[in-house]
Amino acid sequence: MENTLAGIKLFGSWASSYTHRVQLVLKLKGLDFEYVEEELTNKSPSLLLYNPVYKKVPVLLHLDRPIVESVIILQYIDETWTDRPIMPADPYERALARFWCYFADDKLGPAVGAVFGSAGEDQKAAVAQVHENLKLVETELREGAFKGRRFFGGDAIGILDIVLGCGSYWLAVFDEVMEVKLVDPEAFPLFHAWLREFEEQEEVKEIIPAIDRLLEYARGIRQMMLGLKDASTTPATTAATTTTTTDNSSVVVESAGSV
């Protein structure tokens, strides 16, 4: 079988939604691969060698050549192993999928990360930003490009489902850890319904870590960040503190979907 000779190695991190994207598509395509867990606070020489520019996970190694940036990796996999495609066939649909994947990482992801990295009034503003972004997606589901679809990809999950879905589980985690309401089923009924359908998929259930693990992870980092906030004197220094003092905060922000 071609799959066992695929020669794929994936460097990732268990809590990284970007890593989950790649793991999910490899699973959907039935591809075997070797997985290397990276400690993001102690990155391996291999990771730094294969991704010198960004030094981030995930990194896909195929035929000894590294491919980086999750959406680029997804497209590489889709173009190399063409069974069970994740990109639509029609050029306009492809442009739409690419656009919303871009939006997910350019706007929605960082907005969600900002909620995690803030408190008080700043957090309220960050939550409002997430809602604004979710509203845009909800509109497309209700009356726009994705009207009437079960998944963004149609009847089966496609690249946009994978990109949006792997990361959206943080919304429920953050809602619980920080007592915010990021995904209100009343305000975003279609997005909420889509997310539930996505998370019910067998392959997705096998990839996304148990919610308890995610909760524990998020709580730990949030506590540490808040501890740092108390130690700082002005709001202006808080932002600097959370990003420079420890890698962990940037780890969660990275995991949560910030660029």
Binding site: V53, H62, R65, I67, V68, E69, I72, I73, Q75, Y76, E79, T80, P91, Y92, R94, A95, R98, F99, Y102, F103, K107, L136, V259
Partner: protein, 234 residues
């Protein structure tokens, strides 16, 4: 202007924008005619707001009434719709495609922001750091050129490709920055391959008509800077 199947192609844009240049080059490579709708600087048209409600930015390609946004996404769309015309923009091999895509992301994410950061720098220190980052980036891109071009004239090989378009559109602004700072960024000694490539790119038929003259860009840039200064003085 009619294209495949007689469907209209329109492009919303503005002449100084490097992002707008990208789909224009792609359409030229494919020999596809289009109507260029120039946005008035500082005022977003109804059509723009309707076609790109998420970002409200140019360029927007409108093909058969349907809008496509984000410059490099538009370039891929053009490559796929008019695959039978002109030369291929993205390479055929998946790994080469990944390389082109990666460097295009790097250029937009990291390299161009450091270039535009030079003029926005508030301190000499910040300016020097931005300059260093631009040079460091060019060094990486020189290596990328060697890898992607495989001895040919462009990142895309014999013809202009995805990565050529991604980087080449910034050449006008690079020249403006060189004039303003007196620093030679594209230097024969440091990045000889990119120097040769830059000249070939600007001279190409698909690029010539849409690459703004450096002097015109300089004038425009001075107007922008004055507005920026006035706004921050308030």
């Amino acid at each position: 202007m009619a294209a495949v199947g007689g469907e209209e192609v329109k492009l919303l844009g503005a002449w100084p924008s490097p992002f707008v240049m990208r789909p224009r080059i792609a359409l030229n490579l494919k020999g596809v005619g289009y109507e260029f709708l120039e946005e008035v600087f500082g005022v977003k048209s109804e059509l723009l707001l309707k076609s790109n409600p998420v970002y409200k930015k140019i360029p927007v390609l409108i093909h058969a009434g349907k809008p496509i946004c984000e410059s490099m996404i538009i370039v891929q769309y053009i490559d796929e719709v008019w695959a039978a015309k002109g030369s291929a923009i993205l390479p055929a091999d998946p790994y080469d495609r990944a390389l082109h895509r990666f460097w295009a992301v790097y250029i937009d994410d990291k390299w161009f922001p450091s270039l535009s950061g030079i003029s926005r720098a508030q301190t000499e220190e910040a300016k020097a750091e931005a300059v260093e980052q631009v040079f460091a980036g060019l060094k990486l891109l020189e290596e990328a050129f060697e890898k992607c071009s495989k001895g040919k004239g462009f990142f895309g090989g014999d013809t202009i490709g995805y990565l050529d378009i991604a980087l080449g559109c910034y050449l006008g602004w690079l020249k403006v920055t060189e004039k303003m700072t007196g620093i030679k960024f594209l230097d024969e000694e440091k990045t000889p391959l990119l120097v040769g490539w830059g000249e070939r790119f600007c001279a190409d038929d698909a690029v010539k008509g849409v690459m703004p003259e450096t002097n015109k860009l300089m004038e425009f840039f001075k107007v922008l800077q004055a507005k920026f200064k006035a706004a921050s003085a308030k």
